[in-house]
């Protein structure tokens, strides 16, 4: 993906920021302002009936705010994929959405077991999903790449055996091009 800059991956941490947004993303993370609206949602392990509810809620909320439909779709896809990831690969976790006047910041924290090699996990088609997950139609290995494609900034921290934190930013001003 050549229009992405600042791709940096090392064991344990992954950053991807859409080019041109480095300054504002850095500014945001160095001193995160207090969110105007916060939405919390639980993601139980392997519960594919509940997974997806959090992202649906966020989408409905952004609709009420009048967010651009294309931006809305990107948020919905990124949030949904991340939610499914937590349900499919972890022992369950939380999804917290922080809505600011110009962007949405969504954070997923799980209870482990962590990602051994994040760079490998980012490769389209790579998946560690077990048979049960695959039987349910998930585990195609497109979750993380899809999140990266739709988010303006993606940050993952993880270690094998520990928990994973995935967070992304999407600006409301439509800046995909």
């Amino acid at each position: 993906m050549q229009d992405f800059a600042a791709v940096r991956s090392e064991m344990g941490e992954f950053w991807n920021i859409r080019s041109g947004l480095e300054e504002s993303v850095k500014g945001f993370f160095s001193a995160p302002p207090e969110a105007d609206v916060v939405l919390e949602s639980l993601i139980p392990e392997k519960d594919f009936n509940t997974a997806g509810k959090g992202s649906a809620e966020v989408k409905n909320l952004l609709k009420r705010l009048g967010v651009d439909p294309e931006v809305l779709r990107r948020v919905a896809v990124a949030a949904y994929e991340a939610e499914i990831n937590v349900a499919a690969h972890s022992r369950g976790g939380m999804m917290d959405s922080y809505i600011h006047s110009d962007l949405i910041h969504v954070v997923f924290r799980d209870k482990g077991p962590g990602i051994a090699d994040i760079a490998q996990a980012m490769v389209p088609g790579f998946s560690t999903a077990d048979d049960m997950v695959r039987e349910m139609g998930f585990g195609a290995g497109l979750g993380l790449p899809n999140i990266q494609k739709n988010a303006d900034a993606l940050h993952i921290t993880s270690s094998a055996g520990g928990s994973t934190v995935l967070e992304f930013l999407i600006y409301f001003a439509n800046n995909e091009r």
Binding site: D36, V37, R64, L65, G66, P69, L72
Partner: protein, 429 residues
């Protein structure tokens, strides 16, 4: 009707004398358009999509789906009825298709035509449109007026995906009006073309069509309203069954599932969805591009499709089974579609680009909207969270929103009021 008119016509009317303010309707409205204020239900015309959920659920017959009066027929020199396919599923099995159709003449129509006549043509037209619009996936059916309005209101990003051609009954209207004018030497306004419809949304669509370029129908009659009269004529006709053309193959239009099967072919994959809750869930997934593998989605707000409309007298599953039987057993009359094909080729059935009706948003300005949402969340923490609707708003969230928008007060919450009065008692005691 003036297209710029912002006041929306609706076929649903609340009979205040019957309304007890029970809130049953408030809870089933998919667009949260109903509130009970001063113990009477009120419908917000900007939000209502005419789905008819409230009509079906009201235990007091306080929500009356309006349709036109047959007296209208006397205003015209030549009158035509165009019958919705679901009409034929409303009778017991001893009533033949032909008899049910013939009985309609007794209501005073000079001509009786059927939606079913153009179903085959529609299927071909839909396929052609799908192939000509490869850049849009999936194409969404636009026949159900409730679905069109739901998309305008809640899924505006999907408006370009709607099948931008007239529905079968409107196509027939266009074609017949010109044909009758030429054949009988009548002026446009001397011909009255009326629909016999299964739901309130179709009445609304006749009086306030979305995207129509030309004058379409002159009125709509509810199947339920004419049913009694038709039944009497059927009794008389039973002994002398008429010879009349019928189009059983076209009756598939009343069944959303069968319609999708017909459109489905080698290069077109179709999905069928019915019931307003299912429709909303699917539209939400289409919005996120999770259903791009489908070329066409048939969407109907009512159970099983138009057989589930609130004007029908028969249960939607029984009606569906009867219609399927008719399709299997009947013989199809010949339909000459050459004129229709020509009109389609000339773009005569095109619909103007449909426009959003963004009334679900908290504010036009996103910053103000966020401030309002913050206020809503603050109010929400003080509300009991029972979603009991006793305040007249559908949920605690909706009440909080109504308060922020200046349409309700915190005192409207009955549960809080009771808690406060108990606290007062304890203090006094």
């Amino acid at each position: 009707m003036n297209a710029k008119e912002t006041k929306y016509f609706h076929a649903l009317q609340i009979l205040e004398d019957n309304c007890t303010g029970c809130t049953a309707c408030v809870r089933v409205c998919p667009t949260e358009a109903i509130r009970v204020r001063d113990r009477k239900a009120q419908i917000d015309p900007n939000r209502c999509v005419d789905c008819g959920n409230c009509v079906t659920v009201c235990p007091f017959h306080a929500i009356l789906p309006r349709s036109d009066s047959l007296d209208l027929l006397s205003n015209f020199k030549h009158t035509v009825a165009i019958v919705s396919t679901s009409y034929f599923g409303q009778f017991t099995e001893d009533v033949s298709y032909g008899v049910a159709k013939q009985a309609l003449f007794a209501l005073g129509f000079d001509e009786v035509q059927e939606e079913a006549m153009v179903t085959d043509f529609m299927i071909e037209m839909i396929r052609d449109y799908i192939r000509a619009n490869r850049d849009k996936r999936p194409i969404l059916s636009s026949n159900c007026p409730t679905v069109v309005r739901l998309i305008q209101l809640k899924f505006p990003s999907l408006l370009p995906n709607l099948f931008h051609q007239e529905a079968p009954m409107s196509i027939l209207t266009r074609y017949l009006r010109e044909k009758i004018q030429a054949e009988r030497g009548l002026a446009e306004d001397e011909i009255g073309i009326f629909l016999i419809v299964p739901c309130a949304a179709h009445v609304t669509a006749v009086h306030q069509p979305e995207g129509a370029y030309k004058h379409l129908q002159d009125g709509a009659f509810s199947i339920g309203m004419i049913y009694g009269k038709v039944r009497e004529h059927i009794k008389n006709l039973q002994n002398h069954p008429p010879t009349i053309d019928t189009y059983p193959r076209g009756l598939t239009w009343a069944l959303s599932g069968v319609q999708a099967e017909l459109v489905d072919c080698e290069d077109i994959r179709a999905l069928s969805v019915n019931g307003v809750e299912n429709v909303m869930e699917i539209l939400s997934r289409v919005e996120d591009h999770y259903l791009d593998q489908y070329d066409y989605i048939v969407l109907r707000s009512c159970t099983n499709g138009c057989v589930g409309g609130c004007f029908n007298v028969e249960n939607p599953f029984v009606a569906m089974s009867r219609i399927k039987k008719m399709i299997k057993e009947g013989e199809n009359g010949e339909v000459d579609v050459r004129d229709l094909e020509e009109l389609y080729g000339e773009g005569e059935f095109e619909v103007a680009p449909l426009t959003p009706r963004p009334v679900m948003e908290l504010d036009k300005d996103i910053k103000t909207a966020i401030v309002k949402m913050k206020q809503i969340n603050e109010i929400l923490t003080t509300l009991p969270g029972l979603n009991c609707s006793a305040c007249g708003s559908p949920t605690c969230y909706a009440l909080a929103e109504d308060i922020v928008q200046g349409k309700a007060a915190i005192e409207d919450c009955v549960v809080l009021l009771q808690r406060h009065s108990r606290e007062d008692e304890t203090v006094e005691g």
